[in-house]
Symmetry: C2
Subunit: 207 residues, 2 copies
């Protein structure tokens, strides 16, 4: 199932998941595609189309069962299981990620932090000790790690990839300023500057 | 010009800009759409299609002039002028943004930092003093600020928006865990957890 879903639909799924989570927190049990569309600022037909990719979930005249839909989208996104994660680079961005409890609630558990700076190694972030990058290989051999978040400079990121491959890591969440492309690994390259450039474009267009 | 460009094309423009910047750093003066496509892992026809939205830029049998294309895309993205920016919230994410010199090179100049925490107010990040949020209104009346980056919790973000509107701010770069939607303002909501969920989806699909 869900093999030929377009990237655009996949990109929107986390957003549905977030909004449904908020509705649940507000105690809303069901919602029409019309009400959901107003809240999310997308058309009701897009919502129906998107969710039809996964079999629908809605019932004519009833709308969507919020909790059911939340859980189903969670399943599709693979959020029903734990994702052990390490963060390599404990600068501000690495620390921001390590401190973001929201990720933990979604199942992304940070089990290791790594840095090259001897002044940082040995300190703790939320109780998790910062280890030297030289310990990375041994750590991966003795722990099951699914995702490595890279929050270090470009050159360092490219060199750490060789340690990550072949050691059980399934995915790289890359914040270094380079598009990584690694065989047999899922890579999500995040460029904060791209979003800033899009903002700049939209400012220009709004004039 | 460039009024009816699809969101998907706009989303790809910063990526072209990054790759062209790298090519320039490497001293490459011109590149064929085929070579550019291999480097960027997109099809040559997509590149041609994307750039045709803005009038083409390529010459048959010659390829693209790297510097010219870089500059033209920079113009389209509004990167030829300065974008004075403030950061509200100097936790780890705020500090990461304030320390990211790359943004400055793109024209996004951080001219003010704000926080509610009295222990942080008065300190400096890269020479920029952290001011109390209570000074925000006065600051906006006396400085020209185009973009406000919000790197604070959801509730605080929602309440600061009223101070931002009507004080010259054109755009909000929002990292708080809420989709802000503000009249007459360009808003880019960045949800790091969305990208983590996409990663999780792709891991599941790769099994």
């Amino acid at each position: 199932m869900a093999k030929d879903i377009s990237k655009a639909v996949i990109r929107r799924l986390p957003r549905y998941f977030r909004y449904l989570g908020e509705l649940m927190e507000e105690g809303v049990e069901r919602i029409s595609s019309k009400d959901l569309s107003e809240r999310m600022h997308v058309t009701a037909s897009q919502i129906r189309q998107d969710l039809n990719n996964f079999g629908g979930f809605g019932q004519q005249g009833y709308g969507y069962n919020v909790e059911f839909l939340y859980e189903e989208i969670g399943k599709i996104l693979g959020l029903t299981r734990r994702h052990p994660m390490i963060v390599i680079g404990t600068g501000h961005l690495g620390q921001a990620i390590a401190n973001y409890v929201k990720f933990e609630k979604l199942g992304f558990l940070i089990i290791g932090l790594f840095d090259v700076d001897p002044e940082v190694v040995g300190s703790k972030v939320r109780g998790i000790p910062v280890l030297p990058v030289t310990d990375l290989q041994t750590f991966l051999e003795t722990h099951e790690v699914e995702i490595a978040a890279l929050t270090m400079p470009k050159d360092a990121a490219e060199s750490v990839v060789s340690t990550l491959t072949g050691n059980g890591i399934r995915a790289i969440w890359n914040f270094a300023h380079v598009d990584l492309d690694v065989d047999d690994m899922v890579v999500e390259n995040v460029h904060l500057s791209d979003s800033l450039m899009e903002l700049s474009y939209r400012i220009l267009q709004s004039e």
